[in-house]
Symmetry: C2
Subunit: 205 residues, 2 copies
């Protein structure tokens, strides 16, 4: 769902998008291609990673490292990987726990596994509808950014600007993804309390 | 510092406050009493807990359970304990790690250790100046609340109202303190990025 939302927005903005999956004949990916038309295509994780200039990791956090291994170190090398994933384990029921937190994060694990890739963690702290349309909420709200490569973060800020983001908070290097990922336990409880996923964090100062 | 800030605000509001410490002759506590006058007093953790109708845990998270043991189960029994502490371990340098998180929280540990006490976690997600004066920030922002006892939470909401809080988000039972405590890694990075502790989270919906 996150991948289709991001992919459709990128196509609306004029980009060509290849949706990667474990297999090239993933029915959901093919449905999305049929809906989006000529600028959309689908393939394996490896094909999508070889194709893209900018890679979005929209896989579920618990399978991200495996999916990225299938994408292939060579195909990801030198590229910006925008990591939207959250290391949530729903296998023991609600609320989910984090598979990594506190002194490490999934963003860091991905950066360590793919040292030649420029990992930028962002957009993981909200519902996917808001990711590509922040004006759905009545007031301004914030998106966070973590990564080691300053130039890569500038390019990701530009991409966030395409999505409509005005206030982007650069938290620092990829270790700051710990903070962003650890917002999720609060996010999930807030969704229960507020009865909607249509909300986001804002930093008031 | 948190205790003195909360204590001074309570005195300003007309309450009598006893500041508890490990020893009855804690110099900082006595300085605070000298400054605040007749409505202020100081004593051991046990004396302060026996004295108070409403107890604020303003100890540093890493020592909270020990301080509350010194306060004494009997002195805390049946009372509301407003828990402001965060389980932050600064011993390995910056950024601190959490001593408990993800599948447990300090709020829950305290509730388990003192089952006859009504633990309400709140105010732990901001600087102490904002705790007692939310209007220091230009826009409205939020305080969260976690606890098992609905009536206790209503009383704590009233106390938060005395401090000037308008938007109070009740997250649910004490297990939701996991979310509130796990905001701290983000809070600490934001303090670095923003260059100030004078900020807070707001939920935009």
């Amino acid at each position: 769902m996150v991948g289709a939302t991001i992919g459709s927005k990128l196509i609306e903005l004029g980009h060509d998008v290849k949706m990667g999956s474990r297999t090239a004949d993933n029915p959901k990916a093919l449905d999305w291609v049929a809906k989006e038309g000529t600028k959309a295509s689908a393939g394996t994780f490896a094909e999508a990673s070889a194709y893209g200039e900018l890679i979005f990791n929209c896989t579920s956090g618990i399978g991200s490292l495996e999916a990225l291994k299938l994408a292939g170190e060579k195909n990801l090398s030198g590229k910006i990987l925008i990591d939207l994933s959250n290391p949530l384990d729903f296998s023991k029921g609600m609320p989910p726990s984090l598979t990594v937190c506190n002194t490490d994060s999934l963003g860091e694990q991905i950066q360590r596994a793919f040292p030649a890739t420029k990992v930028v963690k962002t957009l993981n702290t909200m519902n996917c509808k808001l990711m590509v349309n922040p004006s759905l909420l009545p007031c301004e709200h914030d998106v966070f950014l973590s990564g080691n490569d300053a130039q890569a973060k500038e390019q990701v800020k530009q991409a966030l600007g395409w999505f409509g983001w005005k206030t982007i908070i650069d938290l620092g290097d990829i270790t700051t993804a710990r903070g962003a990922e650890q917002l999720l336990p609060m996010w999930i409880r807030l969704m229960g309390t507020l009865g909607t996923a249509n909300f986001n964090f804002k930093i008031v100062k």
